[in-house]
Assembly symmetry: C2
Homo-oligomer: 405 residues x 2
């Protein structure tokens, strides 16, 4: 089987490495050798062992012997246009591109389905952790009720540093950048955009309806303070950036990204550093968790190559992955969605807040503040609650949801 | 699609329940309704909602409309004979029967493959945790180096009680029996036989060669004492019953079942109560862990039904799961396999044991004993080591391997 790679960055070059190194194993698993016929990249790689570089997409599109193309370019354009042309030309496409899958997965999956091809994207979420395939093929029967994921290694590393070393957000971010875990412009990670794309994909797989990333309320971790960490520790919680997708009470699917208090008894709380973890909850499923290194050149490349193997095994047969086209009414605004909240206030602790837990510290620097853990309530109700407490003299300094009790 | 169920016990009746309750979801996922046409069981179920019971296997074998049969009978006979006849008659078979898969999986998979049918067994390991399918379809590319699993909920519950409540093995076993987690005759669980069958299946999937359960060294948890627990706690370890499969240094695959010290930093150490967890390690994979409730009627039934759905989606197409027939030389005796060991000795702590850590307690009742954590060594070397220490006056009271550092 001849394949092509589009985009020879970290993951793309990893795919080259894995395919070359594991030829013997791959022949055993596929029944035929895998040959890399073209590598598309605008850059030059004079020192590469590969000799099949091209800067012209048509070299791949027009090569009738290429049956499978690996897209590790990232970004929506031109990856979308290329992927669509390749599928229309009868080639299966394997991708690690979460942005593209979140934006155009519905359409690309449909084209693949109509032509008995495959569009596979195991590497788009959770790096080397098998999560996409279990979601569509193992957790079929009882419908899931919730997906909770720690889906971004960079932010999880930063939060772990804040908890374990008492670092501020800024210092922890710098440490992550030094280690190569965070980019010079860390916006996509720390503002939650990366997690947003991934929870959009998991939501579509779990509930069968496409959601728009633009409509997913997305909050990052930049506002988490040392005080929030102290309250979490005191109460037996960790703080994690969570992608959450759930069947909302209004009948639609609600997906959101937010930092949350997670009780230490929940296995997500123990996922530290750059690791990722995804819990799928369902009435009849019990909770199932998937855990592993959520990024990294070779684990991610391995996930891509596993998809290539699956596409070879399924030549001429579509592996049915299907979710419905986006319809506005199927994506909930979450107005009825209830979470317990942690709210930190300045001032003296107030009393008489029904169903709430009040938390204070004895230390001098915490003398003029307190925190409240509320019962589960909607965001609107929380607004009223906060206004009420502020009316008694305090001022809200920060708030976070609680999940996974 | 008409299906049949053989064996209407906990899992089989759960399959009936899941199929009935989720008809709408299943139609959406399969494209056609699933109808239960026959249920084979020697018992009578006068109060069941189902009206299609039979005591005659031929009613299923000879019904040309039945394309998929669920085997939830357990045991090797007559499940083996029935499954083989069904596959030879052109019907796909879905099973939760770990004993049968471990004993005859190679042959049944081959029959299915030759006839473009499917023999699927997701529910045979880990209950509702998706592990079989990720093993054969996601972790394809870089070959795994190790599989470590907590595969038996009963023993994990007992060990958790011993750690968290300070119970003796006998009391913890009785508690497990009271809760319905352990059977009246708990041998298959506490002696490790159940774990042995499951690690045999995972080993075949991970390394591609069938292994004989009779040749898997299998040690249960009946000899674990309160003192072992105390030493583990002091050193920051948990004790878990582990199924381990690995590429051995002699070129074969070594599979074994044994209770082991697991450091608290390893995610397996945090898996408590009846939960199961499986770590797959590979050079290029990073560690991947699967976690969830390893048993339970509905989670296990859901795994069976997910396989039924997959078989419907793959009508006429074999989902390639392949491992080689058993060859004696491919299963290692593990003679070169090295583990660090914990060994508890009576007597006064000896000194001068190179590369070893000596552990003692100040408490009165531990005055006349000590423990040693050795460097990694073969079982033969350990025998010599123990003999050496005993020559200095101590006597070995117990020993356990260490894994997952």
């Amino acid at each position: 089987m001849k394949i092509a790679i589009m985009g020879f960055g970290v993951v793309g070059s990893g795919v080259g490495e894995v395919v070359t190194k594991n030829q013997d194993i791959l022949v055993k698993k596929c029944g035929e050798p895998i040959e890399i016929a073209h590598i598309l990249d605008l850059r030059d790689f004079p020192d590469s062992e590969f000799r099949c570089f091209t800067k012209d997409f048509n070299d791949i599109l027009n090569d009738p012997e290429v049956g499978i193309v690996v897209e590790t370019m990232g970004g929506v354009n031109p990856a979308y246009e290329f992927s669509k042309k390749l599928l229309l030309a009868g080639k299966s496409v394997i991708t690690s591109n979460k942005e593209l899958v979140a934006a155009h997965g519905t359409e690309l999956l449909q084209i693949a389905r109509e032509r008995n091809l495959n569009y596979l994207f195991e590497a788009s979420v959770g790096g080397g952790i098998p999560i996409i395939r279990p979601m569509f093929s193992c957790l079929t029967a009882g419908e899931a009720t919730d997906v909770f994921g720690i889906l971004n290694g960079t932010t999880n590393y930063i939060l772990t540093q804040m908890f374990q070393k008492g670092e501020t957000f800024d210092n922890a971010l710098r440490a992550a950048q030094k280690k190569g875990y965070a980019e010079a412009d860390p916006t996509a990670d720390v503002e939650g955009h990366d997690t947003c794309r991934k929870i959009a994909i998991l939501s579509a797989l779990a509930f069968g309806d496409s959601v728009l990333t633009e409509r997913i309320p997305t909050e990052g971790i930049t506002k988490i303070t040392a005080e929030d960490v102290a309250y979490a520790e005191k109460l037996g919680y960790s703080i994690k950036l969570i992608g959450h997708a759930t069947k909302a009470e209004d009948g639609g699917v609600f997906a959101a990204v937010f930092p949350a208090f997670v009780p230490k008894s929940n296995p997500l709380a123990g996922i530290n550093d750059v690791f990722n973890g995804i819990i799928v909850k369902g009435e009849d499923l019990g909770d199932v968790m998937f855990y592993g290194r959520g990024a990294g050149k070779l684990p991610t490349a391995n996930a891509v190559v596993a998809d290539v193997v699956d596409a070879i095994k399924h030549k001429g047969v579509n592996i049915i992955i299907k979710w419905n086209e986006y319809k506005p009414e199927n994506q909930s605004e979450g107005k009825l969605q209830k979470y317990p909240y942690y709210v930190r206030f300045s001032g003296k602790a107030v009393s008489g807040l029904e169903g709430c837990q009040i938390v204070t510290f004895d230390e001098e620097e915490y003398k003029n503040e307190f925190a409240v853990i509320t019962k589960p309530m909607t965001e609107t109700a929380l607004g009223e609650f906060v206004a009420g407490v502020e009316g008694m003299g305090g001022k809200a300094l920060g708030k976070l949801r609680l999940i996974g009790e």
